[in-house]
């Protein structure tokens, strides 16, 4: 029995998550110049913790984007692996579960 139509749906979703992973990676690069640059607010604006809060937030956002990219790569791989399993052709091979597990 062929499940090619259904597996295409998984591949479509995998493409979406791969796209999100690329977006997250690009976003991380985009905000990188401003991460931890609270000192650019100057001494006066740094009073009352504005600069520290900025540093805390930008660092957290950079980490979040890294984590997001990792999650999205995993989801895409898991969906492609399942699609490969159901296609069951020589050209497609399901990814080993341990390999998928290591991605997340």
């Amino acid at each position: 029995m062929s499940f090619q139509v259904q597996s295409e749906t998984l591949r479509t979703h995998a493409t979406v998550w791969d796209g999100h992973a690329e977006d997250a990676a690009t976003a991380g690069t985009t905000i990188e110049p401003g991460v931890g640059k609270g000192a650019d607010f100057g001494y006066l604006a740094g009073l009352y913790g504005v600069a520290d809060h900025y540093d805390t937030w930008t660092t957290a956002m950079a980490t979040a984007l890294d984590d997001a990219e990792r999650c999205f790569r995993y989801i895409a791989a898991a969906l492609v692996s399942t699609a490969n399993h159901y296609d069951d052709t020589d050209a497609t091979v399901a990814t080993d579960m341990a390999t998928l597990d290591a991605m997340i």
Partner: protein, 276 residues
């Protein structure tokens, strides 16, 4: 005055203003001292004719013992206070504006409303079962996090550009006020060098006015109070909310795919294609 966009431009502008101030002040001091010297040596015959002889002596004594030392002391104090204030204003607002633009750029591209929901309709038509349910829960969580991160980027961009613009506004205001005060101050000295003002002891009146203007510069910290209050209240509170994750991405942590969910999704046996 050219537009001030960087701290270096602010420093250069203040340095230029203070340099002009010192030059003009020295010129006025020379004029007053020269005038008093002329009066004392009898070169100003006009005054000798209309004023008692000891008036010039008293004017010179007061100039030497009170006015001239006060001018020098206060001029040094003004310069010290101005540079202290300028030092407190160091920062890179144009860089902040660039960072804000970066945050806005990410906000605009990282999330597309409704994208996942539409694709899940097709997914629901084709897949069912334990893994499918786990995937939908994970996908929905991740998609919501993208939306939250997008909102955080928007808030961060707004707060960052707001502070940057406040800094620029403050710099330009400081430079403008300083130039205005210095102009007024030198104007007082010009009045003080008028011959009859010195000899008739109207100098103190002119210097009282100069003192008031100088106090504006000495109290330059007042100019910064409004900015500080803004930082202490609205801006700091908003930044605190963003930094703590109370706004935008909850706790500022990305929701990782939980192991229990991934274990189910990793096993092809948990995926059930719907029959055609």
């Amino acid at each position: 005055m050219s537009t001030i966009d960087t701290f270096e431009q602010l420093q250069a502008q203040v340095e230029e203003d203070m340099g002009d101030f010192v030059d003009q002040l020295n010129e006025e001091i020379r004029r007053i001292a020269g005038f008093l010297s002329d009066a004392a040596s009898g070169l100003s015959g006009f005054f000798d004719a209309i004023l008692p002889g000891d008036t010039v002596e008293r004017a010179i004594e007061r100039w030497n013992n009170e006015i001239h030392p006060w001018i020098l002391e206060t001029a040094a104090e003004v310069q010290e206070n101005v540079w202290d204030a300028v030092g407190d204003l160091a920062g890179r607002p144009m860089s902040l504006i660039d960072y804000a633009a970066d945050f806005s750029s990410v906000k605009a591209t990282i999330y597309r409303e409704g994208d996942l929901a539409q694709k899940l309709v097709i997914f629901n038509h084709d897949w069912q079962g334990y893994a499918a349910e786990n995937y939908k829960a994970v996908a929905t969580t991740e998609d919501a996090a993208l939306r939250d991160l997008s909102l955080a980027m928007d808030a961060g961009a707004t707060l960052t550009s707001n502070v940057a613009n406040q800094i620029l506004t403050l710099w330009r205001k400081l430079a403008r006020e300083l130039a205005s005060w210095i102009g007024d101050l030198i104007g007082c000295f010009k009045v003080a060098t008028e011959a009859d003002a010195i000899i008739s002891f109207e100098i103190p009146a002119a210097f009282e006015l100069a003192k008031a203007i100088w106090n504006n510069i000495v109290d330059i910290a007042d100019l910064l109070v409004e900015f500080l209050v803004e930082q202490a209240t609205t801006a700091a509170t908003s930044w605190q909310q963003l930094a703590s994750g109370a706004r935008g991405l909850p706790q500022n942590k990305w929701p990782m795919v939980e192991e229990a969910n991934s274990d189910v999704m990793n096993d092809p046996g948990n995926w059930e294609p719907k029959p055609a």
